[in-house]
Amino acid sequence: MTYSHLGQNLKMITFLSAIGQSVIANLTKTGRGTLFLKQTLSCTFSVLCHPRLIIKQLFSVGVLTILIITISGLFVGMVLGLQGYYILSDFGAEETLGVMIAASLVRELGPVVSALLFAGRAGSSLTAEIGLMKATEQLSGMEMMAVDPIQRIICPRFLAGCLSMPLLAAIFSMVGILGGQLVGVTLLGVDEGAFWSQMQSSIDFYDDILNGVIKSLVFGFVVTWISLFEGYDAIPTSEGVSRATTRTVVYSSFAILGMDFILTALMFGDI
């Protein structure tokens, strides 16, 4: 065998080894993440007995995200109103604008866009906070004080994230519909009665609203889990926390979009 063949074989072995190591590392991390979730869920009951811990986190995770959700919802609704009007007016169906806006927001855009915004605002903040607490030994300090950081730090944030997300999605959809009404009815002259009555008669509580709420609950669960785990698992250096924060936004976005397809297929599709 020539030296060039040996070199090629060595490169191939190195390449395969790198793939193998990457797969093992990712599987190990998934396992750590699952154990982390199990530990977090096991503390739920005891944390629910201390509602003050959750209320504090509801403020920082949920209330502080309302502004970005409201402004984004308003603009998304206004764009939907504008685009919807131009398309529907071609078919003389402007009066169904309310249905189109409401269905788009409640079924899809509300849960998905608010979850993406939630990941960017609250998720990244959670990862950075937990990562920095790890880097500054606050989590180790709690452990040495015989206080479980999963119970005192992680679980309240997890519950706050899960509770906040459906409420934020509801606010997003509501403000979006108002934005659509502003553009469609007030600016473009769609009949207000038709706008609201068609929406009322076409949007189903179970098929549309409840499915949207289920979606936002799932997204809230996944995004908060990813955010907290990335912070908890971060390398305790400034670079490590920075990378973990980036990973939170990237993984959460992929998870939201992937889960959205699966949930939509299960709820509305014939797949």
């Binding site: 500054t136 606050q138 180790s140 300090g141 709690m142 040495m144 004080m145 015989a146």
Partner: protein, 268 residues
């Protein structure tokens, strides 16, 4: 699970401890004892595993081999709740202070008391003020951690570490990065607390003079082994070249100045 310690005056007994991180061996069959009511110093160069030893004693890490017995209890055989019960009797002063940044000085010191007792706020207030008085920071109770200097943060962390009146306090590099005044304050505090409250203290440090001034017994570690031990006086007169190099801060000796490398001239 409690082991008979009537014959053993040691609060912490470590036997044949081995611990590795990946391929890197941190401890290789190390054994040592921490005596009741004494200040024991664990010294050695940076990266010799001193902080890891404290984490092993506190049960935050598990050894790959060997036993760690604290107050008659084998740390590695304890359930989570038993370990937490034991940790309530241990205090730890972290190198960074590890103060909770969303709480002020008072609430940081009150934190372990609130978590582990059902005492009324009036008694908690009295206890916290007593602890803060002991470290000289009663007047700083309303400050937040980011308003404290490094020395003050460590003193607050010390007040928090003794909040539950532990049997033992572990100090992780307490003197690193301190100005002479803060260092003097910390040295005095550690010695006073140990003697007046009857604590057992473990100091992990590489500040030789400061630590030797208050330690009753010193272990010197390198490459995962205990390479010297004794009272500060015994170590001062030790014949071991390694101990002499470390105690006197000589730049070259058994621990080489140059990191292991190829021949210099071949490398140029």
């Amino acid at each position: 699970m409690k082991e008979n310690n009537t014959q053993n005056p040691s609060l912490v007994t470590i036997r044949n401890l081995s611990f590795s991180r990946g391929q890197r061996v941190i401890f290789d069959n190390a054994s040592l004892d921490i005596q009741h009511g004494k200040i024991t110093a664990i010294m050695g160069p940076s990266g010799s595993g001193k902080t890891t030893l404290l984490k092993l004693i506190g049960g935050q890490l598990s050894p790959s081999h060997g036993t760690i017995v604290v107050d008659g209890l084998n740390i590695n055989q304890l359930s989570r709740s038993e370990l937490y019960t034991l940790r309530k009797k241990m205090g730890m002063l972290f190198q960074s202070g590890a103060l909770l940044t969303d709480l002020n000085v008072f609430d940081n010191v009150a934190y372990p008391i609130r978590e582990h007792t059902a005492l009324p706020e009036t008694i908690i207030r009295t206890l916290v003020l007593m602890k803060l008085q002991a470290v000289g920071l009663r007047g700083a109770r309303h400050l937040s951690p980011n308003e404290l200097s490094g020395g003050m943060a460590r003193r607050v962390a010390l007040a928090r570490a003794i909040a539950l009146d532990p049997m033992m306090v572990m100090y992780d590099e307490p003197f690193t990065g301190q100005d002479p005044i803060s260092m003097g304050v910390l040295i005095k505090l550690i010695k006073t607390l140990n003697d007046s409250v009857g604590l057992t203290s473990i100091i992990v440090s590489h500040d030789v003079q400061e630590t030797a001034a208050i330690a009753d017994y010193i272990y010197i570690m390198s490459s995962g082994k205990i390479i010297g031990q004794g009272t500060p006086q015994e170590l001062k007169h030790s014949k071991s070249e390694w101990v002499q190099q470390f105690m006197n801060g000589q730049p070259d000796g058994p621990v080489k100045f140059h990191y292991s490398s190829d021949n210099y001239f071949d490398d140029l």
